[in-house]
C-alpha cells in the first residue's frame, strides 16, 4: 500500500467517523449526566430528514442544519420529559424514539416528496461544501506534510471541523467548568447534587438537550454533508455504533475521538478494499462491510477491559426521605 492510498483511506475515515464522533459526544453528555440514551439513532435519523427537507425547500444547507438540530432537539425534549420529568424507563423511551423517527421520516417523506421515503437530491448551496484551508495548494509539494495537510486536514465540510473541535471543547467543559463538575456529579450521585442545592432535573435536561443538538448536527452532516439527500434508514445503526464507541471510550471525550476513528477507519478500509486480499485468503466484501458491527458486538460483550458507566445512569432521580 503506497502513501497516497494510506492518505486516501485516512481521509475517508475522517469523513466517515464524523457523524459517529458527534453522536458519541452527544451520548457522552447525556450519559455522563445519568440519562442513558439509546435514541441517538432516532434523533440522527430525524435530523437527517429534517435537514434534507429544509435544505431542499430553501436551498440553504445552513437552514437545513438548523432544522436538523430542531428535529433532534424535539425528540431529545421528549426523551427528557419521559425519563427525567416523569421518571419513565430511559431504555424504553429511547426505543420509542427510534421507532418514532424511523416511521415518521418515511411517512412524512412519502407524503411530501412521493419518492418512497427519499428526499430529492440536493445540490449546490443545499449541501455543505468542502472547505479548502489556506495554503493547501501551495504546501502540497512538500513531502509527507504537504499531502497530509492538503488531503487529510483540508478539504472537509465545516461540520467535520465542528465535530473535531467539539472534542477538546467537551473535555474543557467537563473538567474545567462548574457546569461540567455538576454534570459529572449528577451522573454519579444525584443526591449529592440535590443536597448541595442544585436542581437535578435542570442539569439533566441541559445535558439531554446538548445531546439533541449534537445529534442534530450529526444527522445534518449525514444528509447534507456526506450524502446529497435523505434516504430511509440512512443512519444504518450509526447511533448504536456511537454507543458502543462511547463504552469503548469509557465515557471520555478523547477516548471518543479514538474509538470513533477506529470505527471510521474500518468502514473506510471496507469501502476501499471490498474484497481484501491477504495473500492466503481473500476476505469477502460482506465480512468487510460487517466489520464495524462485529467490533460493536465485541465491545459490548466487554472484551475491551472494564468500562464503568456513570453510577446513577439509567435511574430516574427520586428524592429519598
Amino acid at each position: 500500500m503506497d502513501f497516497a492510498t494510506l492518505i486516501q483511506i485516512l481521509d475517508s475515515a475522517v469523513r466517515l467517523m464524523t457523524p459517529l464522533l458527534l453522536a458519541c459526544l452527544a451520548g457522552l453528555y447525556s450519559e455522563r449526566a445519568g440519562v442513558f440514551d439509546i435514541g441517538l439513532e432516532g434523533k440522527m435519523l430525524m435530523a437527517a430528514f429534517a435537514s434534507a427537507s429544509v435544505a431542499y425547500a430553501t436551498g440553504s444547507a445552513w437552514l437545513g442544519l438548523l432544522a436538523g438540530i430542531a428535529g433532534a432537539a424535539a425528540l431529545a425534549g421528549l426523551h427528557g420529559l419521559a425519563s427525567i420529568s416523569f421518571r419513565g424507563n430511559q431504555l424504553i423511551s429511547g426505543v420509542a424514539i427510534n421507532f418514532l423517527a424511523s416511521g415518521l421520516t418515511v411517512l412524512l417523506g412519502q407524503k411530501i416528496f412521493g419518492l418512497g421515503g427519499r428526499t430529492p437530491s440536493l445540490s449546490g448551496a443545499a449541501r455543505f461544501g468542502e472547505i479548502t484551508l489556506p495554503f493547501a495548494e501551495s504546501l502540497r509539494p512538500l513531502p509527507v506534510i504537504g499531502p497530509v495537510y492538503a488531503e487529510l486536514v483540508s478539504g472537509h465540510t465545516i461540520l467535520v471541523y465542528v465535530a473535531f473541535a467539539m472534542v477538546p471543547l467537551t473535555w474543557w467543559m467537563l473538567y474545567r467548568t462548574r457546569f461540567g463538575l455538576r454534570l459529572r456529579a449528577v451522573g454519579e450521585s444525584p443526591a449529592s447534587v440535590d443536597t448541595a442545592g442544585v436542581s437535578v432535573i435542570r442539569l439533566r435536561f441541559a445535558a439531554v438537550m446538548i445531546c439533541g443538538v449534537l445529534c442534530g448536527i450529526a444527522g445534518a452532516y449525514l444528509a447534507t454533508g456526506i450524502s446529497a439527500g435523505f434516504v430511509k434508514e440512512m443512519t444504518a445503526g450509526r447511533g448504536f455504533i456511537a454507543l458502543a464507541a462511547l463504552i469503548f471510550a469509557k465515557w471520555r471525550p478523547w477516548g471518543a475521538l479514538g474509538a470513533t476513528f477506529l470505527f471510521g477507519l474500518m468502514e473506510a478500509v471496507a469501502n476501499r478494499f471490498p474484497n481484501l486480499d491477504l495473500g492466503v485468503v481473500t476476505v469477502p466484501s460482506m465480512l468487510m462491510n460487517a466489520l464495524p458491527y462485529i467490533l460493536t458486538v465485541v465491545i459490548l460483550a466487554g472484551f475491551v477491559g472494564r468500562a464503568i458507566p456513570p453510577r446513577a445512569g439509567g435511574e430516574p432521580y427520586v428524592k429519598e426521605r
Binding site: 462548574r178 463538575l181 455538576r182 443536597t195 448541595a196 442545592g197 442544585v198
Partner: protein
Amino acid sequence: MTAAPAIELRGISKAFGPVQANRAIDLVVPRGTIHGIIGENGAGKSTLMSILYGFYRPDAGQILIDGKPVAIADSQAAIRAGIGMVFQHFKLVPNFTVLENVVLGAEDGRFLRRSLARARGELKRLAAEYGLQVDPDALVEDLSVGHQQRVEILKALYRRADILILDEPTGVLTPAEADHLFRILRSLRDEGKTIILITHKLREIMQITENVSVMRRGEMVASVRTAGTGPAELAELMVGRKVLLRVEKPLARPGAPVLEVQGLRMVDAEGVERLRGIDLAIRAGEILGIAGVAGNGQTQLLEILGGYPPAGATLSGEIRLGGRPLPLAGSQGRARRRAGIGHVPEDRQAEGLIMDFTAWENMAFGYQDAPQFQRGPLMDNAALRADAMGKIARFDIRPPDPDLAAKSFSGGNQQKIVVAREVERDPDLLLVGQPTRGVDIGAIEFIHKRIVALRDAGRAVLLVSVELDEIMALADRILVMFDGRIMGERLPAEATAAELGSLMAGVEPARADAGGIAG
C-alpha cells in the same frame, strides 16, 4: 442582652398521607451548644431535620434562625440560612476528589480553577482549626468511612454553616473514629457553632450534649438539660414505658455441646489470614457472646458457620454440629439450615432480606420448600401468607401488613422480620450477628427477649455484637476476639467492661492486676 437562639421551631407539623410524622413540634436550640435529639426509629426525627434542611415543606409552623423567621423552601435556602447537614448515608460523589466534592454546588463562578484553589486553602485552614485532616486530592471512594464523614462536615463548613445537623453520625464509625468525631464536634461548638445530633444511642447523648430533646410518635415529649437527666429516664421518655436495660433471664442450664469448632483458620482471597485458629464450643441452653471491635474476624466466623464463606477464601479446621462434622468448603447455606442452624446475618438489608420483596416472601426465604408450604409442585402462597400473619402478630411487626415491601418497614421492624423467620423455625443453633444495630429500643428489648426464650427452650445461641452492653446483658459466656484469635473467655458476672475492653484491644490483662486495670 441574651442572644436569640440559633434555631427556634414553633408548631411544626407535617403529614405524609394519613401518617402524622411531626405534630406541633416546638424546639429551641441556643447558639454554641450541642443539642441531642433522640427517639425511636420512626419517631419523626429525620422528617423534622429534613424540614429544617428544606427537603420538605412543613404543613404548619414557623422556623426562626437567630430569632428571625425564615422560609426554607429548598436545600439552597437552608444553606443560605447557614444550615449544614451530614446525612446518615453520605451524599458524596464517590469518584470525585475531596476537593471536587467540597466545591460542588458552592463554586466561585463558572470556571473551576479558582474554586478549587480557594477550597484547597480553606480546607487547610479548617483542618488546622478543627482537626479535620483529609487529603484534598484523594478520591472519596478510597477514604475510610470516618474520613468520608469528615468530608461531609467540611462541605458544610465550606458553605459557612453555623448550624450543623448530624443524623446518626456514629452508626458507621469505629469507636476510635467516633471519639475523634466527638472531639471535632466539641471544638466546633467552642468556636460558636451550633450542633444538632440525632441519635438513638443514649451513651452519646450523655457524653457530648448540653441539652436533649426526646421525640416519640411525631411529638416532642421533652426537652431537658443533659446534666439533669440520665439514660434510664431518657429511655423511658423515648418508648413511653419502663425499659429493661438489663435483660432479665433465668440461670442458664447448659446441656450437651451443640456446636464445636476446632482450629478454624481462614485465609481470604487477598492472602490475609482472617481467622487464626478458632476453638469454641456452644452448649444447648446457653448464649455464647463474641465481643470485639468490628473487623477482627467475627464477620468471617459467622459467614463460615452460616455456610457462605467469603469468595476465594481458604479454610481449614473442623466444625461439628451435634457431634457430626460439617463440610467446610463451598456454599453450604441451604445444608446448614436443614441441619438446624438458623442465621440472623449482620447486615439485614444485604443478607437478611430482599428489600423489594414483600414481608411474607421475606419471612419464608430459606424455608420456602418446607412441606407445609407446598401444594403439589407449587408454592402454597396462602399458607405462606397465613404463616407470615402469625409471625407479624407474635412479633408485633408494624405496620401489620404482609404485602408491604421489606424496604417500607423501619429498621427495627425489618430486623423483627428476619428474627421471626429464623427463631420460629426453632433451630438447634441460632447464629446472631449485630441483632440490634440501627434498631430502636422497643425492638431491641423484644429481640433480646426472644433470644433468651430460645435459649431457655434448650437451644444454643452464638451472639456476635460490637455493642458491649448487649453482650454483657445477654451472654452466658463471653469470648473476646482480636485479630482473628480468641483473646480470652470471661463470665459476664465476673468481667468488668474495662477488662473486656483491654482484651478487645489485644491486651491480655494480668489476672492478678485485673482489679487495678478495671479501676
